[in-house]
Amino acid sequence: MQLEPNKYVKELTQEKYKYGFTTDVHTEIIEKGLNEDVVRLISEKKGEPEWLLDFRLKAYRYWQTLEMPTWAHLTIPEIDYQAISYYADPTKKKDGPKSLDEVDPELLKTFNKLGIPLEEQLALSGMAVDAVMDSVSVKTTFKETLMEKGIIFCSISEAVREHPDLVKKYLGSVVGYRDNFFAALNSAVFSDGSFVYIPKGVRCPMELSTYFRINAANTGQFERTLIVADDDSYVSYLEGCTAPMRDENQLHAAIVEIVVMDRAEVKYSTVQNWYPGDAEGKGGVYNFVTKRGNCKGRDSKLSWTQVETGSAITWKYPSCILSGDNSTAEFYSVAVTNNFQQADTGTKMIHLGKNTRSTIVSKGISAGRSQNSYRGLVRVSEKADNARNYSQCDSLLLGSHCGAHTFPYMDIHNETAVVEHEATTSKISEDQLFYCNQRGIPTEDAVGLIVNGYAKEVLNKLPMEFAVEAQKLLSVSLEGSVG
């Protein structure tokens, strides 16, 4: 059977990244480069207490001793860490008040363009949003409603000011500053991010969401998210991100830490759509992220769901430490790469407590000249009796120049563990396409259908509003790569 690829391929490659605009707001950017003074300056600008500055400096000094790791299956052009500005604040006006109600209207427009109107529409969809642009949290909605229930949802700088005890107790408790190269860098220069605290026994009534956007040129975004779910609580948290189209690469090195206490449950969903670079592989965001949750309490549950369609290079392993007995962790991922994108993503499941269970479902889709890798670790420690893991990673190849790779690691130190791993790699079968064609479905629609069906298992795990967006993203990212 002969496919007719060319017309469609052209269409896709011309498909524009629709979030690629920049916003003309006055932004305060500090000098490029990184040294101890910059770290002090960031801390000073944010009016941080002494202990946080110490934390940053320790991280910075440790970072200086490290070299950029090379183990990932990625080709990363050398990054000049001195050519990046580590702090950009779009809310900073030369004069004028800084109250949240007087946010620059340009900024609000930006978020409107992104489909994130901070006020009205979200009121309808019942979602609380913290919007982070460049380095600073711009606005958090629904704060009062949440406050009534005792839920804290604010930017991390605000949390440092208003809830220093909580931040001090949990910051760095899951991802220490010595964790890895990018974690050390982030710990030194992190600018903003979200902080969530769900008190005992509270079920968060709405989805919490953060929207990240890199706007200014030559800046890196280093946000830090900290979520603490106390006993018997529940929260579902969403994260979305976009960046303007620029020829040069932008660096994004974030940390997400999650602490889940007794019987609490956290659902963390990401739709990552940073600018992936153009069809020639020029530009795009380098997305080097450390995400980790600790299921600290008994019967706790943590679930990661990610849809990765953007970024020129993705290096991301949302992980779970299952330290509480009977805790459960899930990881659902769809990673799509097209053109010259590279992704090395997966998860780590560290079983420490008894009767812990983890599930990994990873679906990779590669097209164009992209490379897509799954890398995962399942470790069952000596004391983790009756641990159970099931991993499945499937790869779908569209085109003969792309690559799909799987690198699972299993370290089993306990005889009662049951660990299973399965992986398959294939392309869309001609039989499936033929069947659809026969029923009058054009090839490109058929591919869309099949890909969506293939990713369904993961998409189903997303909250509804996100699932729709993710589904659209998926078809946009892959359009025309049939052939």
Partner: protein, 449 residues
Amino acid sequence: MNMKAEQQYIDLFTQCEALICRHSAEGLNAPRAKAFADFERLGFPTRKQEKYKYTEIGTFFAPDFGLNLNRLEFPVNPYEVFKCDVPNMSTSLYFVINDSFDKHDHPSAQLPEGVLFGSLRELAMQYPDLIKKYYGKLADTSKDGLTAFNTMFAQDGVLMYVPKNVVMEKPIQLVNILRADVNTLSNRRLLIILEEGAQAKLLVCDHAMDNVNFLSTQVTEIFVGENAYFDLYELEETHNSTVRFSQLFVEQQAGSNVLLNGMTLHNGTTRNTTEVQLVGRGAEINLCGMAIADKNEQVDNHTTIDHRVPDCTSNELFKYVLDDQAVGAFAGKVLVREGAQHTSSQQTNRNICATREARMYTQPQLEIYADDVKCSHGATVGQLDENALFYMQQRGIPLKEARLLLMFAFVNEVIDYIRMDALKDRLHRLVEKRFRGELNKCQGCAICK
């Protein structure tokens, strides 16, 4: 880099290079200087290297070992100490003692016209062109410190050459005997060449005779010509103070079919590296292995299958049973290069950990750069099925016996890959004995009979 372990060998080589060369052959001496330079640069692999993540190599070389550089003959008659002829299977039987080919007469050996099988050193002198063409061509010393080490010190070994279209009905059995009164390091070398359309089977057994520490490195290079068939069975039955580092390189031409089956029954520390390159269309590789380990035995298999051209097939199956404090590691990489369409590749690794202290590390990897392929891999770590155990107990089979039966059935799948019935039967028995603990250590195989 901690050069402590390396330094004594660098010194030794510098002092004894002339001696090593004198007791070897021209073809084997040729790559020595480069290997030495590579070893100086690389040293022994460390756990920081992904490939050697689970076995620290250097520490095993740190103690003082004796090397038989002068090629002194050991006063041993293999026929007297070794009675392990596989019953009902007539093989051409040969021996390697430590790392020297045993030159005694071999009454059972009858080889077809043109087939060469014998001391690598002697045949290298007789057929220098053959050695020049093949020796060291697959085992790249510049990439791996262990390969470089072996190439530096290897003085003798075995050459097997099967000419075009020669079919060997009778399998060859090669027995590696480790025999020494002091701790000994031996560097074995195998070069196997099958020309177009040739067919052969080789069974290699490792045995340790004495209760001293043995450390052996082994580099095997196998060239399989178009439409040739080759089976290699490696059986390790040594003891707890034996360390084996084996590196096996295979290159397969179009339409060739190779079966590699490595079985570790008794050992101390074993690390087997296997690298298969499929360079001709329609080549097929069946790579399997099995390990039964207890006490503090350690088995680490690292395999790479490189699909370079379209239409090749690879099947991989590895099974481990780990008891006591045994440690097992398996890493299997399947690489499908760009353009290697219609590749079919399957990889399976299944493991049973029988105790709390036993550890298993598994790492099945796929690296795929072509789209029209069918690749899958699967790995499991678990225990015996409780329902099956319960069922058997209900039927009056004692728990211990039921466990044995299930473990036996578990590894049988690997044995069933064997394409020699007599060997298959014998291995069924050996494995059963192994599980029953009757074969604590290979006693020169006198009891096997």
